[in-house]
């Protein structure tokens, strides 16, 4: 029991530290309202993930112009903040986020907020879980060896063999290339499974099957901690 409490405390400290880093890293690029929307999104969906799992988050907040142009800079800024010294970070913005969330009802939401809310409400659990497992898996691989881009490109090139539906194929291709932050609901579970398996096969080739097994397991376990996993088990994708 004591060990559980200690591990929860440690988790809270880590999340608070990461929240400060996200706030610090995003501040130069976003207006106050957009910044709070982005932090709310991070808090809701990405705060329990590994610190380095930024790709999905950055894609999501940079879906529209002009942020899309700044995606690389934002990514770099976030990484610097996350892995830089504590002294360089702003104070924890938790209270500001909560205040913003309370006051948001009835107000005109900024574009980013609208996008985030629309994406969250319409996506099926299976789609969200697939995105989460896939992105986590690729980030873990990237940490070991910088090959996630090659994996994305390979899958993109072979989508025709997996997906018969043209519009869905185009959409997945855009998502893989980072041109679309979220997937729509057109992808079947069997197709998601095949795409994830393609990534696994390439991971086996490049980093070895044992490491690939461990990373896929880690990505799935992480995803299982999310609320959504109660509606759709990530193991359905394996």
């Amino acid at each position: 029991m004591a060990a559980d409490l200690n591990s929860n405390d440690a988790l809270d400290v880590r999340v608070a530290r990461n929240r400060r880093a996200i706030y610090t890293g995003l501040k130069p690029f976003l207006a106050e309202d957009e910044l709070m929307a982005a932090l709310s999104l991070w808090q809701a969906r990405y705060s329990d993930g590994p610190a380095y799992a930024l790709h999905g988050f950055v894609n999501e907040i940079c879906a529209d112009e002009p942020l899309r142009q700044m995606r690389n800079d934002i990514h770099r800024s976030l990484r610097q903040a996350l892995f830089g010294p504590d002294e360089a970070l702003d104070v924890d913005p938790l209270l500001q986020i909560e205040r913003w969330n309370h006051g948001r009802d009835g107000m005109a939401a900024p574009a980013l907020t609208k996008h985030v809310m629309a994406g969250k409400s319409s996506a099926k659990p299976s789609t969200l879980i697939f995105e989460s497992v896939f992105e986590d898996f690729l980030h873990l691989i990237e940490e070991r060896q910088p090959i996630s881009l090659q994996i994305r490109n390979y899958i993109d090139m072979h989508l025709g063999k997996v997906l018969s539906n043209g519009p869905v194929s185009v959409q997945v291709s855009r998502w893989l290339r980072g041109k679309q932050p979220r997937l729509d609901n057109g992808l079947e579970v069997a197709e998601m499974r095949t795409i994830l398996h393609m990534a696994y096969v390439l991971a086996c080739e490049y980093i070895g099957p044992t490491a690939a097994d461990q990373m896929l397991a880690q990505a799935v376990r992480h995803c299982e901690t999310q609320e959504l996993a109660r509606q759709f088990s990530p193991r359905e994708l394996l």
Partner: protein, 431 residues
């Protein structure tokens, strides 16, 4: 104690012809007891193979490896009784294969004992390939290959080298080929089948990188590998000692040679590792001892202990060289079966010719040994290659990458080896 005195007194009171008959019966009984005990020891080797091979595989394939070992022994027993024994030991007028004693029944007691003992040998030859093919072979395809090996491939070569137990002989046996308990007949044949299998199958996913680099895939349970090694070693005392097929006095030399060759094999492998890389791996050490056992199998009855040591030492070194060679040509042998059984079997068969007691380094004998080795390869390897190729086309041999990722335990058997601990097992079985 008093009963024994009475029995002895009664024995000496019997006429002399009765003494001879009694002694003959006693010898026959002792022979049978030894043969059956030795057969049971050889059967126990299946447990050794199962532990060693499953330990060297990943946890997600444990059940599959053990099932293959378990069931190939079952199917092999039936196939050998039906076909294999007759082909191998039946009346053999041509010298190429036996022609009767199929579906053995209504026979002499000794025939049943011999069939029992030889069935265990056949199962050993067949199960050698299972370790090499582990982690990516479909269960059904493997069983077909294993059964055909027991029923046809192994017995036909065996009939050449060991000849008939009834009448006629084998052409290799007539040339003077020396393979007392089967370095070539059992182990090289099994090893060549394994080689053909891994060529047709291809490597496990990720075993070799895109740049050609070899990548070690660690086994999941090294204590199990060690226990498997010990069990195989113990079983070999029945394998070699039992090949006298009688309770004779030379079993002492045979099993002493067996033991010291295994020890030397382990030492040879350790020396080789120290000289080559400096890392002394337990898996290679155990494989070295098994290579020593394989190598001494041909000459254990006809060689002095000093030469048994040399035979084992070289076999241990050979395992390392053989494994490195296979990796270089990108062949994926999960447990090193080709090196341990095929390559060490070849060396042991040559050594049996070179170190033949009282006739050392006789070039004629060594030449015959080479003929026997070549015949084993030329019969076994192409036939096995065709067999695996046909299985891959007709039944299917290679598991899909999806099944390989999920692990063959679930995809082939719907069970896992360690349900409480196997947190890495992610899949939910075959769809």
């Amino acid at each position: 104690m008093p009963y024994r005195g009475v029995a002895l007194a009664l024995f000496w009171l019997l006429p002399e012809s009765s003494h001879a008959a009694e002694a003959g019966d006693l010898q026959a009984s002792m022979d049978t007891v030894w043969l059956i005990t030795a057969g049971a020891l050889v059967f126990f080797m299946q447990a050794g193979f199962a532990l060693l091979e499953s330990g060297m595989a990943r946890a997600k394939n444990t059940v599959n490896v053990i099932m293959k070992n378990y069931v190939d022994a079952c199917l092999g027993a039936i196939a050998f009784w039906m076909v294999g024994y007759g082909l191998m030991f039946g009346i053999n007028p041509s010298g190429w294969f036996g022609q009767d004693h199929f579906f053995l029944g209504d026979a002499e007691h000794l025939d049943y004992s011999l069939l029992f003992f030889q069935t265990m040998f056949a199962a050993t030859a067949a199960t050698i390939a299972s370790g090499a093919l582990a982690e990516r072979t479909r269960y059904g395809g493997y069983l077909v290959a294993s059964t055909l090996t027991t029923a046809v491939i192994y017995p036909v070569y065996g009939s050449w080298a060991w000849g008939s137990l009834y009448s006629g002989s084998g052409w290799l046996k007539d040339m003077g080929f020396v393979d007392f308990a089967g370095s070539t007949v059992v182990h090289s044949v099994g090893g060549w089948v394994a080689l053909a299998g891994i060529i047709v199958l291809g490597a496990r996913l990720g075993r070799f990188g895109p740049d050609g680099a070899s990548r070690t895939i660690q086994g999941h349970n090294l204590p199990s590998v060690a226990l498997g090694g010990f069990i195989l070693w113990l079983g070999w005392f029945g394998f070699n000692g039992g090949s006298t097929t009688a309770a004779t006095t030379n079993i002492g030399l045979i099993n002493l040679n067996t033991h010291i060759a295994a020890s030397s094999g382990a030492i040879g492998a350790m020396l080789g590792m120290a000289l080559l890389g400096g890392r002394i791996l337990m898996t290679n050490t155990i494989n070295g001892s098994i290579a020593g056992l394989v190598a001494i199998t041909a000459g254990c009855a006809t060689m002095e202990p000093l030469y048994a040591v040399m035979t084992g030492l070289v076999a241990g070194l050979l395992v390392l060289i053989g494994n490195a060679f296979l990796e270089k040509i990108r062949l994926d042998d999960v447990v090193g079966a080709v090196s341990v059984h095929a390559f060490a079997g070849v060396w042991g068969t040559v050594a049996a010719g070179m170190f033949y007691a009282g006739d050392l380094f006789d070039p004629n004998r060594i030449w015959v040994q080479f003929i026997g080795i070549a015949a084993a390869f030329l019969w076994t390897f192409p036939v096995a290659l065709i067999m695996f190729w046909l299985i891959s086309k007709v039944i299917g041999l290679r598991a899909s990458t999806l099944d390989e990722a999920r692990g063959l335990d679930y995809t082939e058997h719907y069970e896992i080896g360690y349900p409480e601990f196997q947190l890495e097992t992610l899949h939910q079985g075959k769809n």
